[in-house]
């Protein structure tokens, strides 16, 4: 569904991604792991067009998207839940969600999607008239996911969705992702909580200094003692 073929990206003179290749097959959950500064966020930003790769080497459903601006990439069916959520804090919950559906105009569809998101996260329905900035951290993360879903994506990119969340909420968020995937959503997940991410995903990539250092089926990786030792820390 999504293919990156030797993608390079730069920040100024910093070579942030070096020949990164990865595949996300339709209907799968793929996780992208690695230390800080390894290039995970850069990868996701490059996919959605917020960073530019140097060549035309990213394909979504067979179509090159490396030259397409971000707002059009959303229309193709890719949505991102950004690191640190990036909500519109002074707008109401419901307005944040409607902003997520900005690229689509059909009001009836919009209402249907709102209902779907409210059933996924009932607490958002309760607080739909509140300012987004007034929500707790967990609720804000649910809103960020809800907002991304409003664009009706087929591929959902999540950049550290459990950052700063209490254990109970982390479980809920992972539960929701599993459910979304069972309903057919393809997911690319960046996560520091590597063990959880390996449990949830089918396939994983490890980034190191802007390169793919290791990849494989998640079950295989998490059972590998060297991986445990060098990437996952002592548990």
């Amino acid at each position: 569904m999504l293919e990156l073929d030797n993608v390079n990206a730069y920040y100024g003179r910093i070579h942030a991604l070096k020949n990164v290749s990865l595949h996300v097959d339709e209907g799968k959950i793929v996780s992208l792991l690695g230390a800080n500064g390894a290039g995970k966020t850069t990868t996701v930003r490059t996919i959605v067009g917020l960073n530019r790769s140097t060549a035309n080497d990213i394909r979504f459903e067979g179509r090159p998207i490396g030259r397409i601006p971000p707002h059009k990439i959303v229309r193709l069916g890719i949505a991102m839940v950004p690191e640190r959520r990036e909500l519109f804090p002074d707008m109401k919950v419901i307005d944040n969600l409607e902003m997520g559906g900005y690229s689509r105009a059909n009001a009836a569809e919009m209402r249907r999607d709102l209902d779907r998101i409210y059933s996924l996260f009932p607490v958002l329905a309760e607080r739909r008239k509140n300012r987004a900035g007034a929500l707790s951290g967990g609720q804000q993360q649910m809103l960020a996911i809800g907002r991304a879903l409003m664009s009706h994506p087929r591929l959902l990119l999540l950049d550290e969705p459990t950052l700063g969340l209490a254990p109970l909420i982390v479980k809920q968020i992972f539960g929701t992702l599993r459910k979304l995937n069972q309903d057919g959503m393809t997911i690319l997940l960046i996560e520091q909580n590597a063990n959880q991410a390996l449990k949830l995903s089918e396939y994983s990539y490890m980034l190191e200094n802007g390169r793919v250092a290791l990849q494989g089926r998640s079950a295989v990786l998490s059972a590998d003692p060297t991986v445990q030792r060098s990437y996952l820390g002592s548990i």
């Binding site: 800080n36 390894a38 707790s136 700063g164 969340l165 909420i169 990437y231 820390g233 548990i235």
Partner: protein, 598 residues
């Protein structure tokens, strides 16, 4: 230390320009020389603007008003009271500085938009006053200023040029010294984040008013020199468009760079002269050129040159991400171990409550942090943990209750005073000074430990230089300690999220605190980085003798490191006990941990 090539180039260029300016009377005829003198006089006003706007981030639209005060005060003193011109200029500039200080006061309470309106209004009022002040200032007709007298001889503008160059060079040097000191860093810190600056012990009131006073002082000197150069002043020279012209000069050159002030002033002073041939299209061409420059050089000319010729050097990772945690044998010896407080209890919080609107964010919370303890606070999102940190560090005031540090009641104290007393913190959502370098962020952290005054910094006294160098080493040691040394010269906002967290920790440590408040230090760290963090926190506690109060969701961190754990839920203290007790507590499991293992 040998100068890096970038600095060598910069110094060479400045020396060359200065030499050319000083020797200009030898090869320029009267009129071009006058234009050059004027450009240098404008540079001085724009330097002031660089300090206020570029560094401290306070928008000032009244710079011409301050120049008017300097010019008119100088002229009136010379004409009416027979004061020497060379004394009248500093007196006039001091008056302008006092006005600037007073004008800075509203900036303490008002937002940036209102402050800019206040300075705008001030500039207008000054002009209206001199326009209508017939008795003294001859109203709109202006005043003739006698030529400055130097050892009994009246100076021609050609000769006066030398004085202008000398004063400008001196003021440039002083401004550079200030920017490159703890005071300059405090200005920039305020621009980048007032909240974090307060947390580092920066007194906002002091620095904002000082910034305005400094900016006005420069404008006042510029006005005084203008009076001596033109030997005639009228209100038209100080109208609002002139203030805007100064702002444009600053932005065109590069607002946060001092060299930019000279470049912007020179270009915009010379431009009308260059376009003189195309008289009727002059305004149009000026506007068009400016627009082009600002579109294509958003960071000004100096910003453009820096970006394209002196780009950031790529850094190597501080520790390998293959998970082997680098052990940092280098202990920051410069950060001496603190004597343990004689009191057993370092921090005591007594029946603390706070409400926001109708929401009771904290209700009757009691806790004590021992002088040799790592205490953790856990609880669901929205439980009030960060609010508790805000109360302890002084960013919010409690509705009721008391906070006692080392035996002294600090409940009513400002955030920057508490930082001085030894409370340092990190922020949950990160609050770095993003545009400053990684190293300078840590140096701001040491703000309260540097004692040099603004004057000492401006004059760069030996003691001040030694102090700056010492704390630069401390900052570097701390960066090494948290593994960020290779990134020292990068901008803070270019770091990955987890590295920004470590930087916040180094910045907090730079103040040599007694109590370190860490708000979710592990969020955004991978498992192997978490191992590294745990080593760091343990060393901070054991080797530096700092007590740690920690908010965390990462159970491995909390349960391994803490002596004690406190659980908050909906603003109420749910439990307080040893890590093992907390993990078995059924109410905690229900509210926070969930049913199976976390």
């Amino acid at each position: 230390m040998k100068l890096p090539p970038r600095k060598q180039v910069a110094f060479g260029a400045i020396a060359l320009v200065l030499g050319a300016c000083a020797s200009a009377p030898l090869f320029l005829s009267n009129y071009p020389l006058f234009v050059l003198s004027l450009a240098i006089v404008n540079t001085i006003a724009v330097l002031g603007l660089n300090l206020v706007m570029g560094c401290a981030g306070q928008i000032s639209l009244g710079q011409a008003g301050f120049a008017a005060i300097g010019a008119y005060a100088t002229a009136l003193l010379v004409v009416n009271l027979d004061v020497s011109y060379w004394l009248a200029v500093p007196l006039g500039a001091s008056l302008a500085a006092i006005c600037g200080y007073i004008l800075g006061l509203p900036a303490l309470r008002l937002g940036p938009l209102y402050v800019s309106m206040v300075t705008f209004g001030f500039g207008l009022i000054v002009v209206i006053i001199v326009q209508n002040w017939y008795e003294l200032a001859n109203g709109p007709n202006g005043m003739v200023v006698p030529p400055p007298v130097f050892f009994g001889r009246e100076l021609f503008p050609r000769e006066f040029h030398a004085a202008i160059v000398a004063v400008a060079a001196l003021l440039f040097l002083l401004a550079r010294n200030i920017v490159d000191s703890k005071h300059g860093r405090a200005f920039i810190a305020i621009r980048e984040s007032e909240l974090a600056a307060r947390g580092m012990g920066v007194n906002l009131a002091h620095y904002k008013t000082t910034a305005f006073a400094l900016g006005a002082l420069y404008a006042g000197i510029s006005g005084g020199l203008f009076a001596g150069l033109a030997q005639f002043i009228n209100p038209d020279a100080f109208v609002f468009p002139v203030s805007i012209l100064y702002v444009t000069m600053a932005i065109l050159g590069g607002i946060s760079t001092l060299v930019g002030a000279a470049i912007g002033s020179a270009m915009l002073t010379a431009l009308p002269e260059v376009l003189r041939g195309a008289a009727e299209y002059k305004d149009f061409l000026t506007g068009f050129l400016l627009l082009q420059l600002l579109i294509f050089l958003p960071n000004g000319i100096v910003g453009f040159v820096r970006q394209h010729f002196f780009g950031v050097v790529p850094a190597k990772a501080g520790y390998s991400s293959s998970g082997r945690v680098a052990t940092h044998e280098v202990l920051p010896t410069t950060l001496q171990r603190r004597e343990r407080s004689k009191n057993d209890t370092l921090l005591k919080v007594e029946s603390l409550s706070i409400s926001f609107g109708g929401l009771k964010a904290l209700q009757n919370v009691n806790l004590a942090v021992g002088s040799d303890e790592i205490l953790s606070i856990i609880g669901p999102n929205g439980a009030g943990k960060t609010t508790l940190f805000n109360l302890i560090s002084g960013l919010d005031r409690p509705t009721t209750g008391r906070i006692v540090l080392d035996g002294a009641d600090i409940t009513g104290m400002s955030a920057h005073s508490r930082a001085r007393l030894g409370i340092a913190r990190t922020f949950q959502n990160l609050d770095l000074f993003g545009e400053m370098s990684v190293l300078d962020n840590v140096r701001v952290g040491a703000h309260t430990r540097l004692e040099s005054s603004l004057l000492q910094a401006a004059l760069r006294t030996g003691a001040q230089r030694a102090e700056e160098a010492r704390y630069c080493d401390v900052a570097m040691d701390l960066l090494r300690f948290v593994g960020l040394e290779p990134y020292a010269n990068q901008k803070a906002n270019s770091l990955a999220f987890g590295h920004q967290r470590l930087l916040e920790m180094a910045r907090a440590l730079a103040s040599a605190p007694k109590l370190l408040l860490l708000d979710e230090p592990a969020a955004g760290l991978s498992s192997s980085e978490l191992d590294f963090l745990m080593v760091l926190i343990r060393r901070i506690h054991e080797e530096f003798g700092i007590s740690v109060l920690l908010i965390g969701h990462t159970m491995r961190l909390v349960m391994t490191l803490s002596n004690r754990v406190i659980v908050l839920d909906h603003g109420v203290q749910l439990a307080d006990g040893l890590p093992a007790e907390i993990q078995r507590n059924s109410r905690v499991i229900e509210a926070y941990l969930g049913t199976d293992d976390a």
